[in-house]
C-alpha cells in the first residue's frame, strides 16, 4: 500500500516536473519568437525562418563534429612535433 502511495506521489512529482518543464519550454519558445520577430511573421514565413535557422545550426554542428577532431589531432601532432620531440628523445635512453 505504502509503495503505491509513494509511487503515486512520485508520478505526481514527475508529472509536475514535466508540466513545469513544458511550461518552461513554451516560455522559452515564446522568447525565441519575440526576439527573432517570428512572432509577427505569418506561419509560412515562420517555417521558412525556422528551417533556415535549424539548417544553419545543424550544418555548424555537423561540420564541427566532422572537422574539429581532425583539426585537434593535427594541432596536437604539430605541437608535439615542436615541443614534444626533445622530451621523447630524452625519455628514450633512460628506459
Amino acid at each position: 500500500m505504502f509503495f503505491f502511495e509513494r509511487f503515486g506521489a512520485t508520478i505526481a512529482l514527475i508529472k509536475m516536473d514535466v508540466k513545469h518543464f513544458k511550461d518552461y519550454l513554451s516560455w522559452l519558445y515564446y522568447q525565441y519568437l519575440l526576439i527573432t520577430c517570428s512572432y509577427v511573421l505569418e506561419p509560412w514565413e515562420q517555417s521558412i525562418f525556422n528551417t533556415v535557422l535549424v539548417t544553419a545550426i545543424a550544418m555548424v554542428i555537423y561540420s564541427s563534429y566532422v572537422f574539429i577532431p581532425i583539426h585537434v589531432r593535427l594541432a596536437v601532432e604539430f605541437f608535439s612535433g615542436i615541443f614534444g620531440g626533445q622530451h621523447e628523445s630524452t625519455v628514450a635512453p633512460m628506459s
Partner: protein, 560 residues
C-alpha cells in the same frame, strides 16, 4: 542629449563611471545625477543653476542595454529580409498586393505611391497594425469600451465580431484631469449650450462666427494663463501650423527642439523661415545656435536675422520630459529672441494650480511671448489657444489663417472648456479642480515610482503624467498591446516613425480619474506582461552596494 547611441553604454561599469563616460548626457542640473536623487536632497540644484530652479528637476533617460539594442537591430534585420521576400513575391505576382500600386497604364510615370518609402508600412507596420485605431464605443474616460474585431488576412482588413470589450482600463487617452465625461456638470452645461446655440457655427471668427461664448472663453483663458489677451481656435493642430507662419517669415530664424510635435514642425516649414534644430532639451545646443545666429547672421548676406523664434513644448508627449523653461527664458532674454511655448500636454496637468509649466516652475507668464496650448487634453474639449500680449493677439486676429478661414469652435465644446477651466481655477466655488490637479500629481508619482521599482526602463521627468515604458524590440510592440488588451488594459504602443527606430515604447497617460485600485490593477497586469515579455530591462537595481558612491547627492537606487 538624452538619446544614447548604444555605443555609449559601457556594460558592467558602475554608475559613476557610466555617467562620466556619457558626459553631458547624464548630467542634470550640472550635477552628476541621473534623476535618481534621494528625495531631492540636492544642494547643487540651487548653486549650479544660479537659483533658476525652485524645485528639483529629475529627468531620467536610462541608456539602452547593449544586448537589447543588438537584438532589436537583429529583429529589424530579419523583418526587413522578409519584407524584401514579400515584395519580391508581389512584384512577380505570386502574391496579391493589397497596397496602393501604380496603374498598369502609368507604369513609366514617376511613381505616385513612392513604393520604397512605403516599405516600412507595408512590411513591418502591417504585421502589428491591429494595435492601433481600435474603434472605441464609449466616452474615453478612465474606462472605455472597445469594439472587438478580427482579421483573416493578416491585418489587411478587419471585421467586427459584434462584441464589445467592456470596461477596459484606459491608460492611453490624454484625459489628464478626467474631464472627458458624459455626465457631470461640464456635460450638463454643454447640453444646455447645445440647446441654445446648436452644434455648428457655419462661419469664421471674422465673419458671422464670433459668438459671445467665444469671447467669454477667451477672457477666461487669458485670466487662467495670467496674460493680457488670448485667442482660441477650433483645432489645436491648426493653431500651431497656421499661427507660426503668421509670426515668422523669410529672413527669420526658427530654433526648434528636435522632438517637437508635427504641428510645430509643419508650421515652421510653412512659414518659410530658416529652421535650425537643437538637441532635445539641451541648453548648450540651444545657446550655441543662438550665439551663432547672432554672430553670423543670415547665410551669405550676413545681415542680422529679422527675428529669432524659439519653439519648445511644455511636456514632450513621447519622452515625458519637461522643458527646462527657466533656462530657456534666461537664454531668450540674454539673446533677445522670442519664445513660443506649446503647452498642449502641460496645461492643466502641471503646476500646483494646473496652469502649466510656467506655474510648475513658478515663473511669470509674461516672460513667454507666445503661450500656445490645446483644449483637447486636460479640458476634455477640442481646439487650441494662443495667449500673450494684447498687441500679439490683435495682430493674430487679423493675420492668422485660422481666424480668417477656419470655422470657429463649436459652442458646446466652448462651454465644456469654460466649465472645466472654471473648475480648475476654483471659480465655480468648489475645490474639485484643485483636488483633481493634486490627484493627478499623486497618481503620476505613484505610477512612475511603481513602474521604476518593477525594473522597467521609464523615460522622462518624475512629475510628467506621460509615462513612456521602453519596449525596444519590434515584436514586443505588437505583443505588449495584445497582451494588455487581453488583460483589459488599453495602452498606446509607439514605434518608428514616431520614435527613433530602436526606441519603441508603450506610452501611458495617467489621469486624475484613475483610482488607486485601477492603477494597482493596471500595474499588476503591466508587471505580469513585463515578466512574460521580459521587459524589465532596467539595471538600476543591480548596483552592487560597494560600488555605490558614498556621496549622498549622486546615485541612489530609486526610492521615495
Amino acid at each position: 542629449m538624452p538619446r544614447y547611441s548604444t555605443g555609449e553604454a559601457p556594460g558592467g561599469h558602475s554608475y559613476l563611471q557610466k555617467a562620466a563616460m556619457n558626459g553631458s548626457c547624464k548630467i542634470e542640473n550640472g550635477g552628476l545625477k541621473n534623476g535618481y536623487v534621494k528625495n531631492g536632497v540636492c544642494p547643487e540644484d540651487r548653486i549650479l543653476n544660479g537659483g533658476l530652479y525652485k524645485r528639483p528637476f529629475h529627468e531620467a533617460f536610462e541608456e539602452t542595454p547593449m544586448l537589447v539594442a543588438v537584438l532589436t537591430y537583429m529583429g529589424y534585420g530579419i523583418l526587413t529580409l522578409f519584407g524584401y521576400l514579400r515584395d519580391f513575391l508581389r512584384a512577380w505576382k505570386i502574391e496579391k498586393c493589397h497596397n496602393a500600386t501604380e496603374r498598369e497604364d502609368q507604369r513609366d510615370f514617376v511613381p505616385l505611391y513612392q513604393d520604397f518609402e512605403n516599405f516600412y508600412t507595408r512590411n513591418l507596420y502591417m504585421r502589428i497594425r491591429d494595435n492601433w485605431n481600435r474603434p472605441v464605443c464609449s466616452v474615453p474616460g478612465e474606462r472605455v469600451d472597445i469594439m472587438e474585431r478580427f482579421t483573416d488576412d493578416y491585418n489587411w482588413t478587419f471585421k467586427f465580431t459584434g462584441r464589445v470589450i467592456k470596461g477596459v482600463i484606459n491608460m492611453g487617452s490624454y484625459n489628464y484631469l478626467g474631464f472627458a465625461q458624459n455626465s457631470g456638470f461640464c456635460a450638463e452645461a454643454s447640453a444646455v449650450v447645445l440647446q441654445q446655440y446648436g452644434g455648428g457655427v457655419c462661419s469664421t471668427r471674422q465673419e458671422m462666427g464670433n459668438l459671445d461664448k467665444h469671447e467669454e472663453l477667451e477672457h477666461l483663458v487669458a485670466e487662467f494663463l495670467g496674460v493680457d489677451a488670448a485667442m482660441t481656435y477650433g483645432m489645436g493642430f491648426a493653431t500651431n501650423s497656421m499661427n507660426i507662419p503668421a509670426l515668422a517669415g523669410k529672413g527669420c530664424l526658427i530654433l526648434s527642439d528636435e522632438l517637437n510635435h508635427a504641428s510645430l514642425v509643419l508650421g515652421a516649414r510653412l512659414s518659410g523661415a530658416t529652421i535650425r534644430i537643437f538637441k532635445h532639451n539641451n541648453m548648450q545646443s540651444l545657446e550655441k545656435l543662438l550665439r551663432d545666429a547672432i554672430v553670423h547672421g543670415q547665410p551669405r548676406t550676413h545681415r542680422p536675422w529679422r527675428k529669432i523664434l524659439i519653439l519648445v513644448e511644455g511636456i514632450y508627449s513621447m519622452e515625458g520630459s519637461i522643458v527646462r523653461l527657466p533656462e530657456v527664458i534666461a537664454l531668450k532674454k540674454k539673446y533677445k529672441a522670442y519664445l513660443y511655448l506649446d503647452e498642449a500636454h502641460s496645461i492643466g496637468a502641471l503646476g500646483p494650480n494646473g496652469r502649466g509649466v510656467v506655474d510648475y516652475f513658478g515663473l511669470d507668464p509674461r516672460d513667454v511671448d507666445i503661450m500656445m496650448g490645446t483644449f483637447t487634453k486636460s479640458f476634455g474639449g477640442a481646439g487650441g489657444y494662443i495667449g500673450g500680449s494684447k498687441v500679439l493677439i490683435d495682430y493674430l486676429r487679423k493675420h492668422s489663417h485660422s481666424t480668417a478661414y477656419a470655422t470657429s469652435m463649436s459652442p458646446p465644446v466652448a462651454e465644456q472648456i469654460i466649465t472645466s477651466m472654471k473648475c480648475i481655477m476654483g471659480a465655480d466655488g468648489t475645490s474639485l479642480g484643485r483636488e483633481r490637479v493634486e490627484q493627478l500629481a499623486e497618481n503620476t508619482r505613484y505610477f512612475r515610482r511603481r513602474l521604476t521599482e518593477m525594473g522597467f526602463i521609464i523615460y522622462g521627468n518624475s512629475d510628467s503624467p506621460v509615462v513612456p515604458l521602453m519596449l525596444y524590440m519590434p515584436a514586443k510592440i505588437g505583443a505588449f498591446g495584445r497582451e494588455m488588451l487581453k488583460r483589459h488594459i488599453g495602452v498606446v504602443v509607439v514605434g518608428f516613425p514616431a520614435t527613433p527606430i530602436i526606441e519603441s515604447r508603450a506610452r501611458f497617460c495617467v489621469s486624475a480619474a484613475h483610482t488607486k485600485e485601477m492603477l494597482d490593477e493596471a500595474l499588476s497586469k503591466i508587471s505580469e506582461v513585463g515578466d512574460l515579455l521580459q521587459l524589465k530591462y532596467s539595471r538600476h537595481h543591480f548596483v552592487p552596494l560597494l560600488d555605490r558612491p558614498f556621496d549622498e547627492t549622486t546615485y541612489e537606487e530609486t526610492e521615495d
